[in-house]
């Protein structure tokens, strides 16, 4: 396939190439600019995600952090994989949820496995907490981005660890360009647009587990109705000082019994 033609607005790694492609938009210069963008040696890096996971929603509650997502992974517009676990435990104190390119998420899990194994083998009475793991992931994501070889994910990192002020709950997010922050409630992907407004309105400090699940289910339901790439199979995970639990997948009840949906073709002439 031919590489996309360089538009003048497209960012270039050096002004030389910009001038060259404007004066002489030949095949060689297009290849050269694609190569330079990819790493300077003619190889290409991740340009598009292929198998992608959907939104992840998380929030702090009284005993710790609760995280939820659907168990689907899409291949473009096809809902290809329907039983994918996108929330995993990391060490003793954290949970990670990933949306975006699933193979990159698996790679991140491998990095974290190495990290936690080394931490475990030290056996010095201390273990990596969610804040530390979040910082590690931020470094990984940002440095990959700077090499034009991003891990195409938005990661949610939550956990509880004993600190100087007692049990400290932590919830943060990193995305593929390295933007990271800490917040009481997080949502990735479409959740940013649909779940965050709900969470901002209804989240309170010290919710019980049942209240938190209800609020999360409300967000998940909105995403199920309105996000085309979500499926009706969800997993909820929670982490407290006692440890983490990832619950088996379940479905939410949806309601399609609206009057407007009956006889949809009633007022429209010529439709079927």
């Amino acid at each position: 396939a031919t590489p996309p033609s360089p538009a003048p607005a497209e960012p270039r790694s050096s002004s030389d190439e910009r001038n060259q492609s404007r004066i002489n938009p030949s095949r060689e210069s297009m290849d050269a600019s694609a190569a330079a963008a990819g790493g300077g040696d003619g190889t290409q890096r991740t340009l598009n995600p292929y198998v992608t996971g959907n939104s992840v929603i998380a929030m702090k509650y009284k005993d710790g952090v609760i995280m939820a997502c659907d168990t689907g992974a899409s291949y473009g517009s096809t809902l290809r994989y329907k039983s994918v676990e996108r929330i995993k435990e990391v060490g003793k104190h954290s949970l990670i949820g990933g949306s975006g390119e699933f193979s990159d998420f698996q790679e991140i899990l491998r990095y974290l496995d190495e990290l936690t194994l080394n931490d475990h083998m030290w056996d010095d009475g201390n273990s990596l907490g969610p804040k530390e793991i979040h910082a590690y992931l931020t470094r990984v994501m940002y440095n990959r981005r700077n090499k034009f070889d991003p891990l195409w994910n938005s990661l949610v990192l939550g956990g509880v660890k004993k600190g100087p002020k007692g049990d400290e709950k932590y919830l943060g997010m990193v995305n593929m360009i390295g933007t990271h922050f800490e917040e009481n409630h997080i949502a990735t992907g479409f959740g940013n647009h649909m779940a965050i407004p709900i969470l901002r309105g209804e989240w309170r400090e010290d919710m019980t587990f049942e209240e938190a699940v209800k609020l999360i289910e409300k967000c998940l339901l909105v995403l199920l109705y309105r996000d085309r790439s979500s499926i009706n199979k969800f997993q909820i995970a929670k982490i407290t000082t006692e440890g983490s639990t990832i619950y088996p997948p379940y479905a939410l009840k949806t309601n399609w019994g609206f009057a407007a949906f009956e006889n949809p073709s009633k007022g429209a002439v010529g439709t079927w």
């Binding site: 080394n118 475990h120 083998m121």
Partner: protein, 179 residues
């Protein structure tokens, strides 16, 4: 005078195996470090935890390497490697010469002759891990000469069904019992 827990002689090499060092502690660190990286690399390439036999081979080769060139000095320590893989629990001992054998019972260090005699008296095939740690602690205390040797701290670790086939320090209540 030593702070308890500061002189670590038992190290985890991977989730399922551990190394005990006898001799120059600094040389021991080098061997442990190499074993850790071998085990991690094996899992990265082959996707499964390294078999204990393979790990023992690699460590033995590495120790032996330092006996081959005049500009390298041999390791000043021996190690005992214990692990649990698909073939069950296994014990290997690697000496500074690079000699490595699989054992049912092994001892290294100053009191190894006396310790070996004590181990031979045990019926190893009938001993469970729980009973084993008591026996092992007894031997260590027995071999320790009150007059000649300084006071010491006992470090015990195990890999067995009870620990979920993971190498870990023996839980403190069992440790206290053994003492």
């Amino acid at each position: 005078m030593i702070l308890a827990g500061s002189n670590r002689r038992l190290h985890s090499v991977h989730r399922n195996s551990g190394l005990a060092v006898a001799g120059l502690a600094a040389d021991g660190r080098q061997i442990v470090s190499r074993a850790k990286s071998e085990a991690a690399n094996y899992e990265k390439v082959y996707g499964e935890p390294m078999p204990v036999k393979e790990l023992a081979d690699r460590v033995a080769s590495y120790v032996h390497l330092c006996t081959l060139y005049w500009w390298l000095r041999p390791f000043g320590c021996g190690v005992i490697l214990g692990g649990y893989d698909r073939d069950g629990p296994q014990l290997y001992m690697i000496e500074p010469s690079g000699l490595s054998y699989k054992y049912f019972g092994a001892a290294l260090g100053k009191g190894r002759q006396a310790a070996k005699t004590e181990i031979e008296k045990l019926k190893l095939s009938e001993l469970t891990c729980r009973e084993g740690i008591v026996e092992v602690a007894k031997i260590i205390y027995g071999v320790h000469d009150e007059a000649k040797d300084k006071s010491f701290e006992l470090e015990l670790s195990w890999v067995c069904e009870e620990s979920n086939r993971q190498h870990e320090k023996v839980p403190s209540d069992l440790l206290e019992q053994a003492k």
